[in-house]
């Protein structure tokens, strides 16, 4: 029975993927989708599945996985259950730069919005790290305080941009702040892939070190961890994951904070077990949230971040009460 939660997670992931591929404007049967994936469907069906639905699914999986994996890593790194990409200002920096780019760039250059978001996330990360650095490296408390400050500044920039935005650019800027997977394309999925896979490998490589850091810096250092090096690598890898996610999907809240907690309640706190499961659960949750975002209100699409929150919070509260 020890394997049961893993099986449930795998089934949920497959179910979310199948539901995602079956969701969209055109009514396609499961058979048609399978044929399209195999390359034997009519061109117009194949175009819908391979150029629209599959990239959207891949993007949902990558973004959700990246956010949840980064959240799990940051919570262990900072030994703080509240840590997530938002608290640390990384997502905020990316979103501020993206909204600014949406409003300010000429129409022909709007393709550069993801680049702006990545630059914003990287800038926020650098700023937080620089503010938090002390004589003994960046401490957990200083990192969180610096993140809160950068996040506040980013929120101010976003609100200012939204207040000054002219009519036709406003929806694009709002979409960044509420999170959306509607702009998925094969190119965006390919772009995000290295941003998701390479940092994820770095985090998994440091899985055991993260567990040791959860017991305090001195305790971890005594067990042979080079604390400043591990902290820098994990922070930068998490920031890259968040930056990539914000660049292509805007701000999808809740997944990075709560998915690791859900997984911790099921699989225990050891990051070696937790990181991979968090990533997979975040991927499933985001894909499922995106399905509901497209299906709940006929003819309209809800912000996926709202759906993931509505989906996960009650579940989380129930688990939290049961384990109390």
């Amino acid at each position: 029975m020890k394997r049961l939660p893993d099986v449930v997670l795998g089934v949920a992931l497959l179910a979310a993927a199948a539901a995602s591929l079956l969701t969209g404007g055109a009514a396609l049967s499961a058979g048609q989708v399978v044929q399209a994936l195999g390359g034997s469907a009519p061109p117009e069906v194949e175009a819908v599945v391979v150029s629209l639905r599959l990239p959207r699914l891949v993007l949902a999986l990558l973004v959700g996985g990246a956010l949840a994996l980064a959240g799990a890593a940051l919570q262990s790194l900072l030994a703080n259950p509240l840590a997530d990409p938002f608290l640390l200002g990384i997502s905020g920096g990316g979103a501020a730069a993206a909204t600014l780019a949406v409003v300010a760039l000429p129409a022909a250059a709007l393709g550069a919005v993801p680049l702006a978001a990545m630059a914003g996330a990287a800038g926020a990360t650098t700023l937080v790290w620089w503010m938090a650095r002390g004589p003994l490296g960046a401490s957990s408390t200083r990192l969180i305080l610096a993140g809160v400050a950068v996040n506040a500044a980013a929120s101010a920039v976003i609100l200012l941009v939204l207040a000054l935005a002219t009519g036709h650019r406003l929806p694009g800027a709002l979409a960044v702040t509420m999170g959306s997977l509607a702009n998925a394309s094969p190119a965006s999925a390919w772009w995000l892939l290295p941003y998701a896979v390479l940092p994820a490998l770095v985090l998994l490589h440091h899985g055991r070190d993260l567990g040791l850091l959860g017991t305090g810096e001195e305790s971890a250092a005594g067990l042979g961890i080079d604390v400043p090096v591990v902290r820098r690598r994990v922070f930068l890898a998490s920031a890259a994951l968040c930056g990539g996610a914000v660049a292509f999907a805007g701000v999808i809240g809740f997944v990075g904070l709560v998915t690791p907690h859900l997984c911790r309640l099921v699989w225990g706190p050891s990051p070696r077990r937790l990181l991979v499961r968090s990533g997979l659960a975040g991927a499933a949750l985001t894909a499922l949230g995106d399905v509901l975002a497209r299906r709940l209100v006929p003819g309209a699409e809800l912000p996926v971040g709202v759906v993931t929150a509505v989906l996960g919070v009650p579940f989380f509260v129930a688990l939290l009460r049961r384990s109390a």
């Binding site: 703080n80 003994l136 959860g214 001195e218 305790s219 005594g222 042979g224």
Partner: protein
């Protein structure tokens, strides 16, 4: 044989030098006690010896080789470090926590094997936590957490054991059990250095004692020759009586001779 040696060792934080210069030798099969008033630099000295804090001047030799030339993980395979306290951000069980002691012996992607399991079982048994292996460390008392930290260090099968106030929060029976455990390890050839506050525990546990005051050595030598009323009285600013008792004499502070120094 000397396992760990400090030569003119100095260290501190930021602009402030806290320790040094200090000379210290930890022989295989012997236990050195580090004593001194609050703020004397005992924990800092232990961090320098463990390589957690880099030395500013002088050096630490581990098994004859400069500690700065050891990789951190390699050094951690040889040196077991018991920190003063433990933070538990997320609820680990005792056995999970003790398994962390095997981390220096495992590759990043390598799961623990039978040898690691055996070392963990032996360490749990040694400190008497075998029956509490599945208890959450976050539910345990300060004294019990201290035992978990000791077991974690033992699971790494170190040749040098560095302990920062390991008796804090332990009741009398567990203090005596701690003395037995450390003496058993020392008898197998482990070299130990222990920061202690309790003179009488030091008299039972240690072979040699080093007394620090404001970062400098004010006395060092065999425990019986250093743990004397006149030395302790002068360093700690108290009058001390030495009462005869079977085995080790008992040191009892009677009253303060000076006020403790305060920050001005």
């Amino acid at each position: 044989m000397t396992t760990l040696q400090a030569r003119r060792l100095c260290g501190g934080y930021g602009a402030r030098q806290v320790v040094g210069p200090v000379d210290l030798e930890v022989e295989a099969g012997s236990c050195v006690g580090i004593l001194g008033p609050n703020g004397a630099g005992k924990s800092t000295l232990l961090r320098l010896l463990a390589g957690i804090l880099p030395a500013r001047a002088g050096e630490v030799l581990l098994l004859g080789r400069s500690l700065s030339s050891w990789r951190r993980r390699e050094a951690a395979r040889v040196v077991g470090f018991v920190p003063q306290s433990l933070s538990v951000a997320f609820p680990l069980t005792v056995v999970e926590m003790v398994m962390q002691g095997r981390a220096p012996h495992l590759g990043a992607w390598q799961p623990p094997g039978p040898a690691d399991e055996a070392a963990v079982e032996a360490a749990l048994h040694e400190v008497g936590l075998g029956a509490r292996r599945d208890v959450g460390v976050h539910t345990m008392s300060g004294g019990e957490r201290q035992l978990v930290l000791l077991a974690r260090a033992l699971a790494g099968q170190p040749r040098v054991l560095l302990m920062d106030e390991p008796a804090t929060g332990l009741d009398v029976r567990h203090q005596l059990a701690l003395v037995d455990t450390v003496r058993r390890l020392v008898a197998t050839g482990v070299g130990a250095a222990v920061v202690l506050h309790d003179w009488n525990l030091a008299a039972r546990l240690t072979d040699r004692v080093l007394i620090l005051q404001e970062g400098r050595t004010v006395a060092s030598g065999p425990s019986g020759e250093v743990l004397l009323p006149e030395i302790l009285g002068a360093v700690f600013g108290v009058t001390v009586d030495r009462l005869p008792a079977p085995g080790v004499p008992v040191l009892v502070p009677r009253g303060a001779t000076t006020h403790p120094p305060t920050e001005s």
